[in-house]
């Protein structure tokens, strides 16, 4: 294989791992849109909160995994960490961080829904939209206030190493796959399977689907609408928190405004796949991730942040329902 093909595969892997993060956030947008028909602007900021939650609980977890690894010496600096903690301890550490952060984010998402969106349930959509923008700005500015505006370095939770491919044959030389990328794919895949099972196989998942299909009939059939909405927010925010951890492991510089662009791009992903459609959100997320990385690699890289919006405009003009969405006529 020539070097340009290897380069292309490398960029594809990078794009997919970025896209996996977008997919996780896009799922939150899509689920909330499904049950409430509105776009939760503040969802991108949940990712930021997830990252910062990981930032604060990460050192505790590394201390714990150190103990498991039989070397509870806290004076060793973190850079040497990966030399003596094996992959299993780091997996356990990652799982611990994910559980803690996802529950914290779920609780926060439910709190936001309870305080800000529930009182507005039957108000005009524009009111809810403005509130959502307000909530998003509030989280960002409070983040700057509490965490400080300067970027922080995310602690090392797993031992990140590149997996060597050249052992499998000369033609793979030059291809690097990071452990964190493998973990991103793995965790995203697991979460997707769990989410699909939850939505398709459980009673609460059925209630969510029913609510998305027809809220009035759903309430008449005895479904507790508020509970389901709250649960959906929690679920979406938990996925957002997981996305925050995964993206920060790969790109360890975190700051209070990191959620803005992530959230907007993930929203574009949700629209690209067809908003309200879970498979569409994943497809859209992966596509946006790959397109973005390809533009950076082969096109004008300074236009990186504008690409997603260009995609959004094109998709809204050509196929407003999204790639996997059904065209629904608006009822009068």
């Amino acid at each position: 294989m020539d070097s340009s093909t290897i380069e292309f595969i490398q960029q594809l892997i990078n794009g997919l791992s970025l896209g996996a993060t977008y997919a996780l956030i896009a799922l939150g947008y899509t689920m909330v849109f499904g049950v409430l028909r509105f776009i939760n602007f503040a969802h991108g900021d949940i990712l930021m909160l997830g990252s910062f939650a990981g930032f604060y609980c990460g050192p505790w977890v590394t201390a714990f995994t150190r103990k498991l690894a039989g070397n509870p010496d806290p004076t060793r600096d973190l850079t040497g960490f990966q030399d003596w903690v094996g992959p299993w301890e780091s997996l356990l550490g990652l799982a611990l961080v994910l559980v803690v952060v996802m529950s914290a984010c779920a609780a926060f998402g439910m709190l936001v829904e309870f305080l800000c969106y529930r009182p507005l349930r039957n108000r005009p959509r524009i009111t809810v939209l403005i509130t959502a923008i307000g909530v998003s700005l509030f989280i960002e500015s409070m983040g700057q206030f509490i965490f400080g505006a300067a970027p922080r370095l995310f602690p090392e939770i797993i031992s990140d190493r590149s997996i060597d491919f050249s052992a499998h044959g000369e033609q793979w030389a030059g291809l690097t796959l990071l452990r964190s990328q493998v973990l991103t794919f793995l965790v995203t895949g697991l979460l997707l399977v769990a989410l699909t099972l939850l939505v398709k196989r459980t009673k609460i998942g059925m209630a969510m689907r029913a609510l998305a299909f027809n809220p009035t009939a759903c309430a008449l059939m005895g479904v507790n609408v508020s509970l389901i909405v709250s649960f959906t927010f929690g679920l979406g925010s938990a996925l957002g928190g997981a996305a925050g951890i995964l993206s920060s492991i790969e790109r360890p510089s975190i700051d209070p405004l990191m959620g803005v662009l992530f959230g907007l791009k993930a929203f574009v992903a949700a629209v690209l796949g067809g908003i309200g459609n879970l498979a569409g959100a994943v497809l859209g997320g992966l596509l946006i991730g790959v397109i973005e990385i390809m533009v950076v690699a082969y096109g004008p890289s300074t236009y990186r942040d504008a690409v997603a919006f260009a995609v959004l405009i094109v998709i809204l003009l050509l196929r407003p329902a999204g790639l996997l969405g059904k065209n629904v006529r608006e009822k009068v």
Binding site: I133, V135, L137
Partner: protein
């Protein structure tokens, strides 16, 4: 319409008053250097921005979140006019060795031609304006900033106004980002460094004459046939369409007029601060303007005017509060970060009084 109706007289009298006040201001050089004068100019620019956006968000009910993008167009192109910056023409693609990529090359060539037509117009206008005296050049810069912003409003509005509500908000936000990124990549406009040394032409007269003109245009537009169309689109788009109203036309018109005033405000802003940076026209700047419109009550000219004044003074007061030494340190830090307060205003207002602080004021039966 009569040739000299009441509103026109009010406009002319206001402009005459503004000219008189500006004359008085100019007599005192200390006042021109003072902070109060700076804030006054800021208030006028905010009024132009907020009233322009009020036409789109308030009267026509199309939630736009990208007003700062049009302001950026006006600020940068207006300053380019004042500074005499000409654009170098784009080269077409190289045709040699084009296989199947010829499709892209044709597109690229077409794009280059289109852009070059605009560049040619810009460059010849710059050439024409060079010999003019200061105020004439500034007037041309203002008109040019306004019309290029209107043109970009047309380009943005035609595709995006097919969307509604949340989608429109995000697409306009996206265009705001795209405009910003394009300016950040435009080397003649200073790229990421921004433009410095813009002549300090903005004064009391220009700002408030244009503020009066904005209110006049918005008021008269809303109280005309067009205004009925705007309100019909806002109140029920489907009903309006079934009554034979060309909703797209009204939406695009409101958008273009709003963008034009944003462009003028941008040019005024650039010639006041004398330094502009693309970073200053981001999403946060758009939100500033949106908060003014919402606080004043969407579709309420007087309310939005008051809100624009209040929200321009507020950051200045907060800056003073942050300097008070007897306050606890966290309160001073909150005061320094005005977005905390803005976002709280938004949330609380939507929960408690969604029609805005002054919503319902000055509304006559059935009228706007």
């Amino acid at each position: 319409m009569k040739s000299f109706d009441r509103t026109k007289i009010v406009l002319l009298v206001t402009i005459a008053l503004v000219a008189l006040l500006a004359y008085v201001c100019n007599r005192s050089p200390e006042f021109l250097q003072s902070r109060i004068y700076d804030i006054l100019l800021g208030i006028g620019i905010s009024i132009i921005l907020a009233e322009g956006l009020n036409l789109v968000n308030g009267y026509t009910g199309q939630f736009s979140l990208g007003h700062a993008g049009f302001m950026a167009v006006g600020a940068f192109l207006g300053s380019a006019m004042s500074l005499g910056i000409a654009f170098p023409y784009l080269d077409g693609p190289t045709w040699a060795g084009a296989g199947w990529t010829v499709i892209f090359k044709v597109l690229q060539q077409g794009f280059a031609w289109l852009v070059n037509v605009f560049f040619w117009l810009h460059n010849s206008l710059v050439g024409l304006a060079t010999g003019l005296p200061g105020w004439g050049k500034f007037l041309i810069a203002l008109i040019y900033g306004g019309s290029t912003a209107a043109l970009s409003g047309l380009l943005v509005g035609v595709p995006s106004l097919r969307l509604k509500g949340d989608y429109l908000a995000i697409v306009t936000l996206g265009f705001n980002e795209i405009i910003r990124v394009i300016i950040q990549n435009a080397e003649p406009l200073g790229a990421q460094r921004g433009l410095t040394g813009v002549p300090s032409n903005t004064n009391f007269f220009w700002v408030f004459a244009f503020a009066a003109l904005t209110i006049y245009v918005v008021h008269n537009l809303v109280h005309s046939t067009y205004g009925r169309g705007f309100l019909a689109v806002r109140d029920d788009e489907i009903a309006a369409e079934s009554m034979g109203i060309n909703t797209t036309k009204y939406k695009v018109l409101a958008f273009v007029v709003g963008a034009a005033f944003a462009g003028i405000a941008g040019t005024l802003y650039a010639h006041q601060k004398q330094y502009i940076n693309p970073e200053g026209f981001n999403f946060i700047r758009s939100v500033d303007i949106v908060v003014m419109v919402i606080l004043g009550g969407m579709g309420n000219t007087v309310g939005v005017c008051i809100a624009a004044v209040l929200l321009t003074i507020l950051p200045e007061i907060l800056r003073d509060v942050a300097k008070l030494e007897w306050l606890p340190i966290w309160l001073r830090e909150v005061a320094e970060n005005r977005m905390i307060i803005y976002s709280l205003i938004l949330i609380i207002l939507m929960l408690a009084r969604p029609q805005g602080l002054f919503g319902g004021w000055g509304k006559k039966k059935g009228a706007a």
